[in-house]
Amino acid sequence: MRKKLLLLLALGSWPSYSYSESIAPYWGTTGNVIADQSLNWSMGGVLPEPLGLDIQNVIYSYKIQKETGEWVTVHVQNENANGTGYIFRETDEWKPGTSTGMGINKVVPVGDLPRELWGPGSIDIEGNGSVYDANVIYTYKVTPCYDPQYDPNCPGYKVPTPNIVEVNLDDLYDVFDDENVDLERNKSIEQDDINLEENERKKKEEEEEAKRKYRLEKALGAADAASLFAENARIQQMNLVAAQNLQAYVIAGIPGGVYNDVVDLRDSKLPDAKTGLRNGLAQQLLHKQMVEMQYNLNTN
């Protein structure tokens, strides 16, 4: 039961989450559209770019400058872009008795009027007077899904289909109708194309193998170079140490005097050593045995 309730709750809240934030309507306000004392402005540079923009309110203020006895009429207005007259026109009567410095602050709701209807705006003055510190602001609402194709989540969105040009097949070039084309030759070309693909594949594999070998050689070369460098460094170090310990010459004291021959060989008969004789004989016998062994092998 509890699971069912949770499921119902989730289903109930689903639409609010499935409604993308990017397509939700949003509201905004322009800055003051009166940039100078000309009291004229164009809506193109005032409103933001998006389609689906509707103006909802015109907020304006200004101060009147006139003699107390004068009657001045002030119109704040926008021309109708799709026709004659005005899409918006608000009139303020400044009757005698009102004086310089009095101001007006007004918020005029206009409903939701699409931006396409809003032509150039102006403040028009009738009578002897002028306005200053004028400020005109528009509030607007933007509905992104005004164009259903704006976002796939917009109601009425249609999946775009590619524009496929219809071609009359009869007008197409038919190779079978071409007398200059040898179809057998085309077959060989197709076969060649297959072979070409195979060759290209093999060529790529060979290139890849060559690259692998090259990289391996480079790596080994780098390792050898490193070991060689280390060996050289070791030898240099040894030489350096040896040079420190080795003297260029030897200082030795040689005592003077005469060294007489101390060997005294007297003439006598020197007999042959019997051990040497036995040894020689034994070697001779061994030699003979070895020589005979080869003949024995052959006979076997």
Partner: protein, 170 residues
């Protein structure tokens, strides 16, 4: 036992007497939303152009308070705005203060129907009374100047004065 019974009998007798003269007051509640709403649009600031003067005039370094009045029912209210005639809080002053003040219409939402507010107002002392004949918003500005007697210097400290505005139903 006897006492208990008589006690009940008295109680019933009293209850019967109450039922015979039942009376109850039932309230009727209601809330009236004023059609005239006053709010402070901008608080004022006293400038101190010299030692003995406090002024809300811009040229004196001050800023006048602005009161906004929104009316949703035409010709139903007067508006009384009273400029200050005393400090609501201030340091102890060594002399008497002389006050001057005035209220004017600063701005409006309907010049055609509110343009006559300023010329049609009634001034009584520090109070200006406006006849709110049109619906919409009107902004009133009150200036106030306080001068200490004998050209004495205002003691240092914070000074506060209040402008009072009231919608009075006709």
């Amino acid at each position: 036992m006897l006492n208990f019974k008589s006690g009940i009998g008295i109680a019933l007798l009293v209850a019967g007497a109450t039922a015979a003269h039942a009376q109850q007051n039932t309230p009727i509640n209601g809330t009236v939303q004023s059609r005239c709403i006053i709010q402070t649009d901008q608080p004022g600031i006293y400038g101190n152009p010299n030692a003995y003067t406090l002024s809300t005039t811009n040229t004196d370094g001050g800023s006048p308070p602005v009161i906004r009045v929104d009316v949703t029912l035409a010709a139903a209210y007067y508006l009384d705005i009273t400029a200050p005639s005393a400090f609501s809080s201030a340091p102890s002053l060594p002399d008497v203060v002389t006050w001057a003040g005035d209220t004017t219409v600063k701005s409006m939402s309907d010049s055609t129907n509110m343009g006559g507010y300023e010329t049609g107002k009634l001034e009584t002392g520090y109070t200006d009374r406006y006849d709110l004949t049109a619906t919409g918003s009107t902004w009133f500005e009150t200036t106030s100047t306080a001068t200490l007697g004998g050209s004495r210097a205002f003691p240092g400290g914070n000074y506060t004065a209040l402008v009072t505005a009231a919608c009075i139903a006709k």
